[in-house]
Symmetry: C2
């Protein structure tokens, strides 16, 4: 079978690995960006969280050890409060690995490119797909010409603004939902100390929650930290917050004085960096006939606060490969089975990621959210495997997201009941607090 | 102020009336279709339900009497069950008027066209909007040329596939949600009897609920009925249901034998008519700066089963006109206030319309849904103004939709509690039934 994959990011190149290892297909994979394995100066330092799901997926394609060797393990979350006090929550079993996006991307492209039948084409931007042939049309960004690549299957791994998705849904009955947050983020860096070592603990995820804005940081192997600064899109003083040196300096001095000490140029960095928006996308169908199918952000972009986007995309690829083998003679059935297996889980992940954002924000504001988290952790210790905080189910297991959502819902209900009983039994006001927290946890961010 | 309105359907021409009556604006209104006031042969017979909100809106522009004179009043809903038995539910206060879409459209265009400063342009299709100038670009369907109309404000009243909305949201941070039902509809006609009179009661809305498919009929003044046949998009036997004469005849013989008697050619009509899809759209923002704004289906298409699409669009127009007057010197504030006032209500309407579809379907299947409806009606009589079925709040009042939704939610809860108490008090199984019905009523159709 001739397969065209549009997008050679993490999802596309991982899919090329899954499909290519079977040796049955001829796979051409295209990307508008240059080859990530060719060293260039201006690579982004963006960092991703690789958790259990992602690791098992990498194991599936034989890359777990390679990737693990270049990642930084984080054994828990360290919250920095406004007065500089620290609060540590362990991630438990396995933890999360911080990995540079570009490193991982290069590893995947190199491994897939070595497979017979897999060919990468860089610097080619997809501008349209004929979903009936099917064929993808590309424009050569350097040379300027256009060309058409016909094949048996076109796979859209081209991310949140997927051209494949748009072409596939054109004039079809499709459901589509796009939400965004009133917050955006900018990427900042805390450089290494004078001796090249990390300026803070290097084996944890750092979080500075401050209600309407927050910063978090992943450790890098070179002694630096990659920080993500999340802030409201509209400032008090105008449509763009932090637009002037004064704004930025005041912002950091008031909310993140310790960050200013760690990286005196952080205000300056913040001014120079563009704001990235936060989009969530749910859609259906994920495929057209036997000819076009989507994976990763192209069919289910989620807010990044649970750090599961990549992990979920890898799960897609493995499932798609599996369905194509199970339904080898009926490709529409294979695609339908793939969507059937994945969509309820990625819908659940979207839901959980929305909720997690509110929770991260409220960690700063609400003692009740913290209390609930503490109960959660204590009950896990008390009840062992029968009780697991949502974050653990998402991060430390490969339990389907929809199942994790269901179990978390049951646990929240139990926690509420427990709170009420305590109130009744002891007359303490804690129960009402827990109940109302459980309720507000269910509210959705729009 | 120079205003361009794109779309001279019900929303656009009603808006031209609202804005034009102030005599302060120069309004140009464009539509891709020909002039509805010029008599043509092939007009659709589509029928709409005009309820309290719509009538008050028409009163606002001085057209209530004119429109009322050409409409057919319906005083309630008559359900035809599978065995030909009839069940009548009065609409209460005022009822609903059945009105031909084209008649109403012609009335609005005629009235607006007489206002100084309002000019209609037909046969011109909008293909793009420059939201910064702003200016709309049109193509002349007959002559073939293109031209650009610059103005101070471009208003998108161009329906569910709004070109104005698409252009306005291009490269902006926008939320957009499009859902569809796995059902579509075809329009059928029951002709008048041999003496020109109606073949069924002419003062009611007729409904044949049959679970997965249903038919409803509005009376026309000429003795005919316009029927809407709702059916699943995928048949048991293939992707398109009712694609062959056999399919159709079996379908009607089994489910709607009385309809076959009333209109022997109904199977034939059903085969010839195209299937129309059912789309629901929620989006935000509704406006761009001081330059572009949306009304009606362009910003909130809903499923038609509550018959409120037109009524809600009229409410939009009146609110927009009001906000433009209140914030005469700050147009962005006017547009923001308009969206603020309307969106939560049209969101509630979208929600209610989705739910109403499931309810209409289940009227056939579930005795519990019927029981709940009966309780609802009885409580209204018992408690007077303090209890009102949802349908009455939507149809017989101008209570904002969001408020109607809230009150209906409270009532459903009370009905559930009442049911439980009855169960406890009398040991009858009715309570559980009501509770589970109330719960399933909250489930959403996707």
């Amino acid at each position: 079978v001739n397969i065209t994959i549009v997008g050679a990011g993490l999802a596309g190149s991982f899919l090329a690995l899954c499909l290519g290892q079977r040796g049955e297909h001829r796979i051409d994979i295209y990307d508008r960006l240059p080859d990530p394995t060719a060293a260039t100066g201006d690579r982004s330092s963006m960092n991703l969280g690789l958790s259990r799901r992602g690791l098992e997926a990498l194991e599936h394609v034989g890359l777990r050890d390679t990737v693990q060797a270049s990642a930084v393990p984080m054994r828990g979350r360290l919250v920095h409060d406004k007065n500089g006090r620290l609060r540590f929550t362990p991630y438990g079993d396995g933890g999360i690995l911080a990995i540079g996006r570009d490193d991982l991307s290069a590893t995947l492209v190199r491994a897939a490119g070595e497979l017979p039948g897999v060919t990468f084409h860089f610097g080619l931007r997809c501008i349209d797909v004929d979903k009936e042939l099917p064929a993808a049309r590309f424009v050569d960004k350097q040379a300027g010409g256009e060309f058409v690549a016909p094949s048996d299957i076109v796979i859209g791994a081209d991310g949140v603004f997927s051209v494949v998705r748009r072409a596939m849904h054109h004039r079809e009955l499709a459901a589509y939902r796009q939400d965004y947050l009133e917050w955006g983020w900018r990427e900042l860096t805390i450089g290494p100390g004078p001796d090249g070592s990390h300026r803070m603990a290097a084996d944890v995820f750092h979080l500075w929650p401050r209600g309407d804005s927050m910063v978090f940081a992943h450790p890098n192997r070179d002694g630096s930290f990659t920080c993500t600064c999340v802030l409201p899109l509209r400032g008090a003083s105008g449509p763009e917050p932090l637009a002037s040196v004064d704004d930025v300096e005041t912002h950091f001095r008031e909310l993140f004085p310790d960050l200013l000490r760690l990286a005196p140029d952080i205000a300056d960095q913040c001014l120079r960096r563009p704001t990235t928006h936060l989009l969530s996308i749910r859609t259906s169908p994920w495929h057209h006939d036997s000819k076009v199918v989507l994976v990763g952000d192209a069919c289910h972009a989620v807010y990044p606060f649970l750090a599961q986007g990549m992990n979920a995309a890898f799960e897609d690829c493995i499932e798609l490969d599996k369905c194509l083998r199970t339904h080898a003679r009926d490709r529409p059935a294979a695609f339908a089975a793939y969507q059937q297996a994945r969509k309820r889980n990625t819908d659940a992940l979207a839901e959980l990621s929305e909720r997690n954002f509110s929770e991260l924000r409220d960690t700063a504001r609400s003692r009740l959210v913290r209390l609930e988290k503490a109960c959660d952790t204590r009950l896990e210790r008390l009840l062992g495997g029968r009780w697991m905080p949502l974050h653990s189910m998402v991060t430390n297991t490969t339990m389907p997201y929809a199942q994790a959502e269901q179990q978390a819902k049951r646990q929240r209900l139990l926690l509420g009941l427990l709170g009420s009983s305590l109130t009744v039994a002891a007359g303490v006001p804690i129960g009402r607090g827990l109940l109302s927290t459980a309720r507000s946890g269910r509210r959705r961010t729009r």
